[in-house]
Amino acid sequence: MLAEIGVASTEKLFDSIPENLRLHGHLNVPAAMSELELLNRFEEMGTRNQAAQRTSFLGGGAYSHYSPTIVDHLISRSEFFTAYTPYQPEISQGTLQAIFEFQTLVCQLTGMDIANASMYDGSTAMAEAVLMAERVTRRRKVIVSSAVHPQYLEVAHTYVQHAGIELQTADIDPASGQTPASAFDAIDDQTAAIVIQSPNFFGCLEDIAALADKAHEAGALLVVTVTEAMSFGLLKSPGACGADIVVAEGQSFGVPLSYGGPYVGLFATRDKYARQIPGRLVGEAYDQQGRRGFVLTLATREQHIRREKATSNICTNEGLIALCATIYLETMGRHGIQDVAKQCAQKAHYAAREIGKISGCSLPYSGPFFNEFVVRASTEAVPLLDKLAREKGIDGGIALSRFDANRPNDFLVCVTETNTRAQIDGLVEGLRALTR
């Protein structure tokens, strides 16, 4: 081949790179490994992830749910996972139709009119919702509940730091664990949006309708964030409660925990904001013979056309993970989602009741919850949870001191349909024994 194109050697292919920039030795990375060696290496590293093998009650933004067998099989079809972004619709109808179905499912779950083809995750979706609220209202102040996931709050701060947007916080009621409307009294005609999470980081359900009213009275938008998407199966949709933008983490829908990613951000809003929504949108279209197909549309919002005036800089999003969620939702279906959600709630409330009976434990918040709740122990949570893991083989929860040094004895427990009664009873017994 070199001869055919008239190049003397492989070296010469790189003649346009100045000599002093050319590497003369080889890269200091390991030599090539065979499949067998490679797998052994990763398996070995995997053995040092003891937490992956243990009974878990960890939530806090990432959830253990059961994914039906066909989900991974179908996303492993090479036509899906090795395909490119569907810019050429004639040969990407599989991807495009799947996204259209995904958009529809997100609308149905959130109770909103339009949804995009995905964001990176719940945290960046929330940050982009804040930016969108500013674009829509042209106001610069945003009030965020302090019960929003702490990492989501951090991401929002990063995104707005140069956007001239001021983020204020609204405090929760320490008795109920919810964020009351009065916490947002600082709202005025300069407020673009109120941002809440429901169920919130402490597991408590917020009164979305009341907060929607509060926002709308001041001409602001209500942004609702959901980290445990399975809650859509049981709780009234944010859309039905008056939300203007709903963002969520879709990982609960059949996506493996995988140490934090890849996950998938859901983003949904009202029809009237269609041209302000970030991310890709897939729409119905017809060819000359009247055959229905799907196509990326309203692209003039996006970076490749509007460049610095785009609604977002997002390009590659989470296509395959959105497909994963789509297949999960269609497999579980209308009743399956509700059944899983009900089981999560029933098991979590059973666990909470039993834990509440332990003398060394209490439940500090009175507000209603879905499948996560805070436990206050009579002793420090970090060493308690540590012992529970090492002695009883159970990851009992997330110590809140990791996020707030003023809460040394509190931890967050999450229960899903994957936790059996035996496991829950084991958690209860373990806590009882260790808080004596």
Partner: protein
């Protein structure tokens, strides 16, 4: 060949202007709509908004492109062609008639004199190619 009616005034940003008393009617030229392709959306200002000459007052979108539209003169919006929300294709089909975009009460009618005539605009577009 793009249509360039004689009785209108033109700008180098490819807008046309027609004077009706103290009001200016403004839209984009046939040449502009040809370059853009099928118009899918027009973003228009609100009634009462004020602009100075060469301000951007909105944008026109086709499937793969978006162009800002500039007012050649200063004025205050008295009317916008809201039918373009449902039928943006009017800009393609009848850019000088049904595809009009805004009507403005002129702040300084003299500014119209510094616009291009039909002949000057035609020369300008030929030179651009």
């Amino acid at each position: 060949m793009a249509n360039v009616p004689d009785n209108l005034h033109y700008s180098k940003d490819h807008e046309w202007l027609r004077v009706e008393g103290d009001t200016a009617v403004i839209g984009i030229t046939d040449h502009a709509q040809e370059q853009l392709g099928d118009v899918v959306y027009v973003e228009l200002p609100r009634e009462g908004e004020e602009f100075i000459a060469h301000d951007s007052f909105g944008s026109v979108e086709s499937v793969k492109a978006v162009s800002e539209i500039f007012t050649p003169i200063a004025g205050k919006i008295s009317e916008t062609n809201d039918s373009l929300n449902d039928e943006p294709e009017k800009v393609n089909k009848d850019p000088y008639g049904d595809g009009w975009m805004i009507k403005m009460k002129m702040t300084n009618p003299g500014e119209v004199d510094s616009m291009l005539t039909a002949a000057e605009y035609e020369d300008f577009t030929k030179a651009e190619e």
